[in-house]
C-alpha cells in the first residue's frame, strides 16, 4: 500500500443551493488508499459531495479533512486532488502528450522530469506511441486512458471519478473499470467514485455508500449491502428484490400461509420480508406460499419467471439449464432459501 495515502473525512457536511438542500448533514470517512463509491439516483447529492471534496464547491456547513488537514476553505487548485470527468474534459487544442503533461507544466516542473513522468504513466495506462496524436483522433476508450493518465501523473492525495464510464459502450465499460480497479489498488490512492450504476459500484469498490435525497441510506462492503440492506430503498437499488409484508416472532417469520425459521436481530411484529429473485424455490406441493406460475422466460444463462401469490407477484431467477417444475398457469408452492432473505423494519 501507498505510504503517503491519507484518509479523507467529511464532518457534518451540508450543502444548500439557494432554497434547495443538495446534501443534508453527511459524515463519511474514506479509508486511506481505499476506493469508496457514492451510489444513488440522479439528484441524490453524490456529485455535489464529490465536487466539495475536489474544492469545486464549498460546503454550506461542515468540514472536510485530508488526514489531519482541514481543507474546507482551501481552493481547488491547491488541494492536490485530481478528477476523471464524465466528458473526459481533454483539452482539444493539445495533443496526448500535452494533455497528460498539463499539470506538470502548470506547476513548472523541469522538461526532463515531465518527459520521464509522462513516459512512465503512458506505459502504465497503455498509450505507448500515441503521445503525438490529437486527442480527437482517439477512440473513446483511449480518450478515457488519457484522462486517467492525466490524473495519475499528478500523484494526487485523492483521486475522484465522476461517472467516468458512462460514455463507453457496455463491453468497454467492463474492461476499463477492471483496469481502473487494478491501477487504483496497485497505486493505493484514496479514491472517491460516483456512479448511478449499481453493478459498476459493486465491481469496483471497497466500500459503497448508498445515497438518497442528500442523505446516506447505508454504507458497507458490496456484499454486506446486498445481503443485509437496512432499507427497502437500498435493497431495491442494489440488485433486484421482492418485498412482502409479514410478521416476525424472534425465531420464525410468516408471510401469508408460509412460515419459515429465521433469526435476525430486529424488532418483533410486522416486518417487510425482502427476498432476492435467486432465492425463490418453486415446488409442485409441500410447504410454501401458495401461488400460480404466471410467466416463464428463458434467457440463456438464466431463466426468469413470475409467480402470482396472495401476497403479490414474485419475481424469480434460476439457472438456465435447471429443470422447470411447473408450466404457466399451474399451481405451485414457493419457498425461500436461507441466503438472500432479509427482514426490514416495516
Amino acid at each position: 500500500m501507498n505510504q503517503t495515502a491519507v484518509p479523507v473525512r467529511l464532518e457534518n457536511i451540508v450543502k444548500r443551493f439557494g432554497a434547495v438542500t443538495a446534501v443534508e448533514t453527511v459524515s463519511l470517512e474514506l479509508p486511506a488508499g481505499k476506493l469508496v463509491t457514492l451510489l444513488g439516483p440522479s439528484g441524490c447529492g453524490k456529485t455535489t459531495i464529490l465536487r466539495m471534496v475536489a474544492g469545486l464547491e464549498r460546503p454550506t456547513e461542515g468540514k472536510i479533512f485530508f488526514g489531519s488537514d482541514d481543507v474546507t476553505q482551501l481552493p481547488a487548485y491547491l488541494r492536490d486532488v485530481t478528477m476523471m470527468f464524465q466528458s473526459y474534459a481533454l483539452f482539444p487544442h493539445m495533443n496526448v502528450f500535452e494533455n497528460i503533461a498539463y499539470g506538470l507544466r502548470v506547476t513548472k516542473r523541469p522538461n526532463d522530469e515531465i518527459r520521464e513522468r509522462v513516459a512512465g504513466v503512458v506505459a502504465q495506462v497503455g498509450l505507448q506511441n500515441l503521445e503525438q496524436r490529437a486527442v480527437q483522433a482517439l477512440s473513446g476508450g483511449q480518450q478515457q486512458r488519457v484522462a486517467l493518465a492525466r490524473s495519475l501523473i499528478m500523484q494526487p492525495r485523492v483521486l475522484l471519478f465522476d461517472e467516468p464510464l458512462s460514455n463507453l459502450d457496455a463491453k468497454l465499460r467492463k474492461r476499463v473499470r477492471e483496469e481502473i480497479r487494478e491501477l487504483q489498488q496497485k497505486l493505493g490512492i484514496t479514491s472517491l467514485y460516483v456512479t448511478h450504476d449499481q453493478e459498476e459500484a459493486m465491481a469496483i469498490s471497497d466500500l459503497v455508500v448508498v445515497m438518497k435525497s442528500g442523505i446516506i441510506e447505508q454504507k458497507g462492503a458490496p456484499r454486506e449491502l446486498y445481503q443485509a440492506p437496512v432499507t427497502r430503498f437500498v435493497a431495491d437499488f442494489i440488485g433486484r428484490a421482492n418485498f412482502l409484508s409479514g410478521t416476525y416472532n424472534g425465531s420464525s417469520a410468516t408471510v401469508g400461509n408460509y412460515s419459515f425459521a429465521f433469526a435476525q436481530p430486529i424488532q418483533h411484529g410486522n416486518v417487510t420480508v425482502m427476498v432476492r429473485p435467486e432465492s425463490l424455490r418453486v415446488a409442485k406441493d409441500g410447504i410454501g406460499l401458495e401461488g400460480k406460475m404466471h410467466s416463464v422466460a428463458f434467457l440463456g444463462t438464466t431463466t426468469e419467471y413470475t409467480v402470482d401469490t396472495a401476497a403479490g407477484q414474485l419475481e424469480g431467477v434460476m439457472a438456465g439449464d435447471a429443470p422447470l417444475l411447473a408450466k404457466v398457469g399451474e399451481p405451485v408452492r414457493v419457498q425461500f432459501a436461507n441466503e438472500g432473505v432479509y427482514l426490514i423494519q416495516a
Binding site: 469545486l56 481543507v71 474546507t72 485530481t82 466528458s87 481533454l90 482539444p92 502548470v106
Partner: protein, 738 residues
Amino acid sequence: MVAAIPSAFSNRSSRALIPAVLLAVGVLLLPFVRPDRPFELFNWDLVALNKATWLAWLLFTSSAVLSVLSWLRLPMLARGYALIGISSGVSITVFAWLASTSSYFGFGALAALVCLLLVLGVGLSETGLIQSDPFIASSIVLCGIFVTLFIAFPLFVVLRESIIVNGAFTLKKMAETLSSPLFMVLENKFTPRSETTIVFGIATAGAVLGFGLMFLRKARVQLLLGTTLAGGVLGFIVGAGVFGRGAFATSLYLALIVAPTTVFFGLIFAILEQRCRAAWVRRILSIVGILPMITPPFVLAFALENWFGAQGLITNRVFGVDTNYFKGVTGVAIAQILAFTPIAYLTLRGSVQGLNPALEEAAQTMRSNPWMVFTKITLPLLRPGLAAAFLLTVIESLADFSNPILLGGDRSFLATEVYLALTGRYDPNEASVYGAVLLVLVLTILGLQRAWLGNTSFVTVTGKPGSGNFSMLPRWLENTLQGVLGFWGLLVAMLYGSVFYGSFVKIWGVNGEFTLQHYIDFSGTGLEVLARTAQVALVSAIVATLLGFLIAYLVTRQQFFGRSILETTSMLSFATPGTVMGVAYVIAFNVGPWLLTGTFIVLVLALVFRNMPASIRSVMAGLSQIDKALDEASTLLRAPSSTTLARVLVPLLIPQLLSGIVFAFVRGMTAISQIIFLVSPGNLLATVLMLSWLEQGNLGRAAAMSTVMILGLLGMILLLFAFSKRFSRNGTGLEGIG
C-alpha cells in the same frame, strides 16, 4: 464563521505582495496629480512626496506593511482581513484627498488606487468572502469599479443634472424643457385650424380602432384595455408627428415609420435567403450584412441628398422640381430605412434559420395552403425574432444622430437636441433632460421587451436541424421579392457609387471633370486625423475585447455576489443612445478628481464602454460552446484561474477574440454620437471632421474620406473572414470532447 486553516498548506505568502510593492514604486516615481488636462509620465514637481507629503508617507508605510504581511507565512484568514482593512482604508483616504483638494488624478494616484484594489481583491479571496482565487477576486473588484465608474456613474450624473441645477434641486428645468416647443408642440398659431383637436381626434380614432378590432375577436378585458390604450398612444404619436412639431413627437413618429418598414424588408430578405432558388440573391445578401458595419455615418444621408434633395440630381435635374420636401421626417426615414434594414435582416436571420421545416411540412400534410402555412405556422414561430428586430430598430432610430443632423431640416429630434442643447445653447441641464427622456424611453422599451418575451431565446427552435426541406417560394412571389431586393441593391449601389464618383469629380452633379484635388485636400489634415482615429479605435478595441472577455468569463464561469448586477450594468451601455452616453461623459468627467475630458483617454474609454457589450456577447456565445469541465480539469491539475484562462480558454477562443477586436475597431472608426462631445483640438476624430466638412460644404473632401474609410474597413473585414476560414480549417474545433 470560517475557521482558520491549520498548518501544512495554509500559511503561504500572499499574492498581494506584487501590487503592494508596486504601490510604493508608483507613488514614488509617477506624477500623483495633474495641474491641467494632459497626463504626464515624469515630472518630479508633481510626485506625491512634493505634492502631498503626509499622504505619500502614508502610502509608503501601507505599502511596507502590506508587503511584509504578504511576504510572511501568516494564517490566511487573519491576514485577509488585514489586507482588506488597510487597502480599503487607504484607498478611501486617497480618494478623499483628491476630492477635498480638487486635484486632478495623475498616473501616480491611478497606480496607487489600482494597486490597492488589487490588494483588496486578494484580501477578499483569502478571507473567503469571494470564494475564488486572488486573480478572480481582484478581477471582480476591478471590473466592478470600472463598470460603476464609466457606465453607471455617468448615467446617474445625467439623471441628476436634469433635476439639480446649480447645486439645488429643482423641477423648473425639467418643466421648462418639456413644455418648450422644441420638445413638443401641437398647436400651430399661424393656421386657422386647431391642430390639438386634430391630434386628439386621431388618438381617439386609434383607440376606437384598437378597441373595435379586439372586441370583434371577443378578446379578454385586459387585452381589450391594452389594445385600446396602444391604439390611442399610436394614434397620438402619428397625429403629433404629422401635425405637431418638436423632438419628442418627431422622434417617436419617425421610429414608428422606420421600425415596421425595416422589419418588413428584413423579413423579406431573411426568407428570400432561405427559400430562393437564385444564387445571386445570397451573394448580394452577404454584402448587405457587412454594409452597416463599414459605412461611416453621414454617407447614406449625404448621398441621398445628392440624389433626392432640393438640388438633387433626380429631383432637380431630371424632374426639375426645387423642393425642400426631402429635408425633414421623409429624408431621415428613408436614410434610416436604408441604414437599419441590414440590422433587422441580421437579427431576423437567426430566427428564420432556426425554423424547423418539419413543422411546415406537417401543416402542409394537413391541407394548409402556402399562405395559411405562412400566417399560422411561420409567422407565429418568428414572433420573438420579429419583436426583437422591431424593438432594436426602434432604439436605433431613436438613438440615431447622423441622419437627423444632416437631413432633419426644420424638425428637431431627441438625439440631436441633446447635442444642440449642449454645444449650441451651452445648457448642460437641458441636454441632461433630453438625455434622461431618451434614456427612460429606451429603457422602457427594453423593459417592455423583457416583460413581453421574458428571457426566452430569440431563436425559436434551436438545436439540431430537423429533417426535411423548406418548400421554395412560389415563382411569382420569388420574382416579386427578388425585384424588391434588386431595387434595394440598385439604390444602395447608386448611393455608394455616387460617394465614390463624387470624390473624383470637381463638383458633384455640376462639374463632372475628373480631379484628384479632393484626395489632396483630404490628405492635408484628413490623413493625420484618420491615423489618430485608427489609434483611438485600435486601443479601445483591444481594451474593450479584453475587458469584455474578462467580464464574460466572470459572469458565466464564476459565482459571486453581485454577478447579475455586473452583467446588467455592463450591458446597459449597449442600450444607451450614443449622444446620451457622450453628454454623460462630458458632464461626469469635466470636474473634480475625474477630469478626463479633452484627453485621448476619455475617447478611448467612451469607445471601450460602447463596444464592450458586443464583445461580452460574442465571448459568452463562445464560452457556452466550451464544456465547463475543461476549466475544472485545469483547476484540479493545479492551475490557478489566470493560468486556466491563458492556457485553455484564450487559445480556444482566439477566433472570437480576433473578430471581437476587428469589429470593435471598425465600430470605433465609424462612431460619431458618443464621441462628438469628447473630441478636442489635439484629438479630432475622422467622423467629426467629416461632419464639419459636410457642414462647410466640402462635399468632395468628405466623399474622399468616406471612400478611403469604406475601402479600408472593407479590406480589414475581408482579411478577417479569410483568416478565420483558414483558422477553422486547420485549427481545432471549439467543442470540447465528449
